[in-house]
Symmetry: C2
Subunit: 185 residues, 2 copies
DNA sequence: CGCAATCTTGCACAGCGGGCAAGATCGGCA
DNA sequence: TGCCGATCTTGCCCGCTGTGCAAGATTGCG
């Protein structure tokens, strides 16, 4: 069902991919679709949501002895490890779609916000901080996702991009170390 | 019109504030509303969008001699300077609404994304980097907004919060300096 | 087999977004 | 002042969407 939604939306554009078409392609009724998803956008974002939430999950599984940012980097790269070689073309297509179509962008950002929230929780556990009290875990989670988003976007929009794993690693290193003005010496 | 949308949505909830009601309260037709906004969410977020874009605008106006993060901090705090005393209650209400109502959250995040994009542009100008080529300006813009969002959220959800300007300043200082593990010594 | 819980479907309806064309309003210009 | 073009507003209309409701199908367990 998710696959049908993504495929049709990519093929003919989001506007021209009627829910009716999607449900027909998936062999379910219009009504069933609504039982599972709040709308077209949610269906298209569903796969990405799973991947994103996995990051927090993986981080939780890392040994406590591992340095925080090493563990974070490992977790942030984990979605790409699942892909045998270059990232799942269906996933990249959905990202491209969600970041380019205004009607989907909101849902895309929402999924990242959900994942970010969960990541902050795990970071808090690891660092002995509390999400409700300290800024730290939320700042870490927010900057991590910011780095991932920026790296992903660069990877998607550059002609001959470096491997996405390297871009993410690079971005994470920068935000972890701070971002002093490069033009000031 | 924007005011009417926010007021009604806050009073009776987003669901129960029909566009028809909003347009009636604003003295315009249903159709005119659609000419200006793509939907209820966009109307409610409009004010926040203006404030958010102002940050990039203000940063552009800062002297080039000012250290980057000082200028950024000044710009990030500028929306609050407009408010005579404590932040505009209408604005805070709209933020509360947008962050709590799932149907508005996407639009809220979109506005921040737009502002972030513009901020990245200005940061690039200032630091001699290029948005298309370097990760740096986008990482800065993204982390700045992350800091602002986290600080704002804490301010909104804490019982007796510190002044929001202080929270933002604090968050910005942390992300600018990097985020090493506080539990590791 | 039988029953209960869950999932799926069809129906119906209000709300929404937007194309279109007619009318109103406003600005400049002679 | 009076005219005209540009912009803004409105009403009409239609297809798409989301959801409450109730009936029917399916599944799993005893």
């Amino acid at each position: 069902m998710i696959r049908a939604a993504v495929r049709l939306a990519v093929e003919r554009g989001v506007e021209n991919a009627l829910i009716e078409d999607i449900t027909a392609a998936a062999g379910v009724s219009h009504r069933t679709f609504s039982n599972y998803f709040g709308g077209k956008a949610e269906a298209i974002a569903a796969r990405h949501l799973d991947r994103a939430r996995g990051v927090a999950e993986v981080l939780r599984g890392r040994p406590a002895s591992e340095p925080l940012w090493d563990a974070i980097t490992y977790a942030a790269l984990s979605p790409y490890r699942a892909d045998r070689k270059s990232p799942d073309p269906e996933w990249t297509a959905s990202i491209r779609l969600m970041t380019s179509e205004p009607s989907l962008l909101g849902e895309f950002l929402k999924t990242n916000a959900i994942a970010e929230r969960e990541l902050a929780e795990v970071v808090a556990e690891r660092t002995g901080t509390r999400v409700g009290r300290d800024l730290y875990p939320r700042l870490v989670a927010a900057t991590v996702w910011a780095a991932v988003e920026v790296a992903t976007d660069k990877w998607l929009t550059t002609a001959k991009p470096a491997p996405i794993t390297q871009l993410v690693r690079n971005a994470l290193r920068q935000v972890a170390a701070g971002l002093p003005d490069p033009s000031a010496e």
